[in-house]
């Protein structure tokens, strides 16, 4: 009997040795004369256990991790004999960290072979498209609107309304664009889903194409994600071969095809209008809005531009209905959010859960506190443009409005954990420095403000007229927040102001800060 073993090909799993483990398993099997089949999957998202490998058994998959190449032989023996092993984690489905999640978008990630359409359809894939083809444009739009889905890239704009605007626009050509320029530190959900279940993104984009009447789509992936680019390209080819992309998709009257485009290291291209400029072959300079991309987007045509996670949520909404999705969540934040726990955290990874869970539960309970074992002092939520929250705000529920009410944002759902050795004035300085490095240069508040911000924070850190210089930073932040064209300059004040507000003791001459860290 052939033993089916699942080894992730996810870039983060590979970064901690998954390829070596796969190679080691092959060697060990050959030496023992055991017949095995290695299936390369995505990651389940339990990164502290990566490389986590699984074996198919009659009771379900049994997981082992974190496995090193030198342990591949002994793990294989335990798989063959169904015996004990120090790295044996039991049935994957029974792992508490997974059981506590609500995996709608990530249901298949880490489970299936991401390059196999057959595996995808065997795990409920393309059911959403089948229903979408039955429903037709108007009913799809109604369904997406009723689901309450909001843009998962960070802005939180209702997806249904965006799609409706494009559907109603009259044009000879329309485009579907997937923003896969996931540049925020602490976020990796886009990368994970593109590597682990790219077809769900393809299916979501295809449904969008049918809904608004577009036959061409682009996926703009950042160059820092070569594994995601390869996985996405392989999945597009597979979908084309199976008739799910190209002319007359799924035997219908609709044509839809996709192309991957690769970014070139500019963070600002994650901003939608800058991304469109880049796709058109130009510098990634932000466009003034209006016109909205829904009216005049890519090549001046009506364009749906959504984040990877927004598209990944669509197949479930269509297959199981808007209500099934909207039943999860709280207030105006409906459905689930794939939350990413990162940085100095014991249990880092992807945790998809309904909106409403508190920040404290996520960091202390699910994340297990810091990896260093020191107390958590601050968390940054929502990437480099997100606010730093102290423990005092850990009762904040994870939802768009609740974070906004406390001068923060959930952004793309990344949470970076810092222990008590963090120097918050240094983090504030980095926020300004990052903005200065990545600014596209079009608007003055962002271009000049960020550089002046770095200089002023340096003066504060040197103990130079601290109170006056803090007032300058606050004033600068105000100008950037209200005067910048896009979120880069407009949101850089979030990390800076939150650091100032909640960690004021770190802003002053070095000795004070060092004492604070003791």
């Amino acid at each position: 009997m052939t033993l089916r073993i699942f080894v992730p090909r996810d870039a983060a799993a590979v970064a901690v040795g998954a390829d070596d483990v796969a190679f080691g398993l092959g060697l060990a099997a050959a030496r023992r004369g055991v017949d095995i089949e290695i299936v390369r999957t995505g990651s389940r998202g339990l990164y502290w256990l990566e490389p986590m490998i699984e074996v198919a058994t009659p009771d379900g998959r049994v997981a082992f991790g974190p496995v090193t190449a030198s342990e591949a032989g002994s793990v294989l023996d335990a798989m063959v004999s169904d015996g004990a092993h120090p790295l044996r984690l039991g049935l994957t489905g029974d792992i508490d960290w997974l059981r506590r999640q609500t995996r709608l978008s990530f249901a298949r990630c880490g489970v299936i072979d991401p390059r196999s359409v057959e595996d995808y359809t065997g795990h409920d894939g393309y059911k959403g498209l089948a229903r979408a083809l039955e429903l037709g444009s108007e009913a799809i739009l109604a369904e997406v609107t009723a689901s309450g889905l909001r843009g998962r890239g960070g802005a939180g704009f209702p997806t249904g309304i965006k799609w409706k605007t494009v559907a109603q626009a009259a044009a000879d050509r329309k485009y579907i664009v997937c923003n896969a320029d996931e540049g925020d530190s602490g976020t990796f959900a886009d990368r994970m889903i593109m590597e682990g279940d790219p077809l769900v993104v393809i299916e979501g984009m295809t449904i969008a194409g049918i809904a608004v009447g577009a036959s061409k789509g682009y996926i703009y992936i950042r160059s820092e994600y070569p594994h995601a680019v390869a996985a996405m390209n392989a999945a597009i080819s597979a979908a084309r071969r199976a008739g799910y992309l190209g002319p007359r998709i799924g035997g219908s009257s609709h044509d839809f095809d996709l192309e991957v485009r690769v970014g070139a290291g500019a963070y600002v291209c994650g901003e939608e209008t800058s991304l469109l400029e880049s796709l058109e072959g130009r510098r990634g300079i932000v466009r003034a809005k209006p016109p909205l991309p829904a009216h005049r987007g890519l090549f001046g045509k009506p364009t749906v531009i959504n984040n990877v996670l927004s598209f990944a949520a669509i197949p479930f909404i269509l297959a199981d209905g808007a209500r099934a999705y909207a039943d999860f969540g709280t207030g105006r934040s409906r459905g689930t959010m794939p939350i990413q726990l990162a940085g100095n955290v014991r249990h880092g990874g992807l945790f998809e859960v309904a909106f409403g869970i508190t920040l404290g539960e996520l960091v202390d309970d699910i994340g297990g506190g810091t990896l260093t074992g020191r107390p958590v002092r601050a968390v940054q939520v929502g990437g480099p443009l997100g606010a730093y929250f102290p423990r005092a705000l850990f009762d904040t529920p994870f939802d768009y409005e609740a974070f906004a009410a406390r001068d923060g944002l959930i952004g793309h759902g990344g949470i970076v954990v810092f222990d008590d050795s963090v120097d918050m004035s240094r983090q504030a300085r980095f926020a300004m420095e990052f903005c200065a490095i990545e600014s596209c240069g079009k608007c003055t508040p962002c271009r000049i403000g960020s550089t002046r911000g770095v200089e002023t924070i340096d003066r504060i850190r040197a103990g130079e007229r601290v109170a006056e210089n803090i007032a300058v930073v606050e004033d600068l932040c105000n100008t950037m927040k209200f005067g910048s064209l896009c979120a880069l300059g407009g949101f850089t004040p979030y990390p800076v102001m939150s650091a100032l507000k909640h960690f004021r003791e770190d802003f002053g001459p070095a000795p004070t800060r060092l004492q604070a860290a003791e």
């Binding site: 983060a12 540049g183 820092e224 070139a264 058109e280 072959g281 992807l350 983090q427």
Partner: protein
């Protein structure tokens, strides 16, 4: 794996440009393809792209210089990218970057005198739950500690 590049050749460059010229918004695609072939974007290619795409040389130059990925000159034999963003900072990445700089005797953003190693900063590899992380010649490496960064630097000097 160390990438192997062709020396610049105008005819070969022209072929690459022509091969992508039909695409919508082809500039970035062409620049990537040239860099993949030659290891950098040779200056003579800029007017060639401009003429194929019916753009001005200034426009193509503007695009080329806007994006940090595109190189004006070949990189070192190995390219070691260290993630310097917040998640890696939280996990001690700054100290490891300083260690790599000290071992190589160069600052992030430069190449060793023997052209063996280019050390670069990258703002997020999406390996934030296995931080601190790096990428050596396209291969991701996570959970870096002093021993692993030393091994990585040694590998980048071969």
């Amino acid at each position: 794996m160390t990438p192997v590049y062709e020396p610049w050749d105008a005819a070969r460059g022209g072929e690459i440009i022509a091969g992508h010229g039909h695409l919508e918004g082809a500039t970035l695609v062409i620049l990537h393809a040239l860099q993949e072939a030659f290891g950098y974007v040779p200056e003579p290619a800029i007017p060639m792209i401009a003429s194929t795409l019916n753009l001005s040389r200034a426009e193509v130059h503007g695009v080329f210089t806007f994006y940090p990925d595109f190189r004006r000159a070949p990189a070192g034999r190995h390219v070691l990218k260290l993630c310097r963003a917040e998640a890696c900072q939280a996990a001690g990445g700054d100290a490891l970057a300083a260690r790599a700089e000290a071992r190589l005797g160069i600052a992030v953003g430069s190449t060793t005198a023997d052209d063996l190693t280019t050390l670069e900063a990258v703002y997020c590899l999406g390996l934030c739950a296995t931080a601190p992380s790096a990428m050596l010649d396209g291969r991701p490496v996570g959970r870096l500690d002093p021993a692993r960064i030393d091994a990585l630097v040694a590998e980048a000097q071969r």
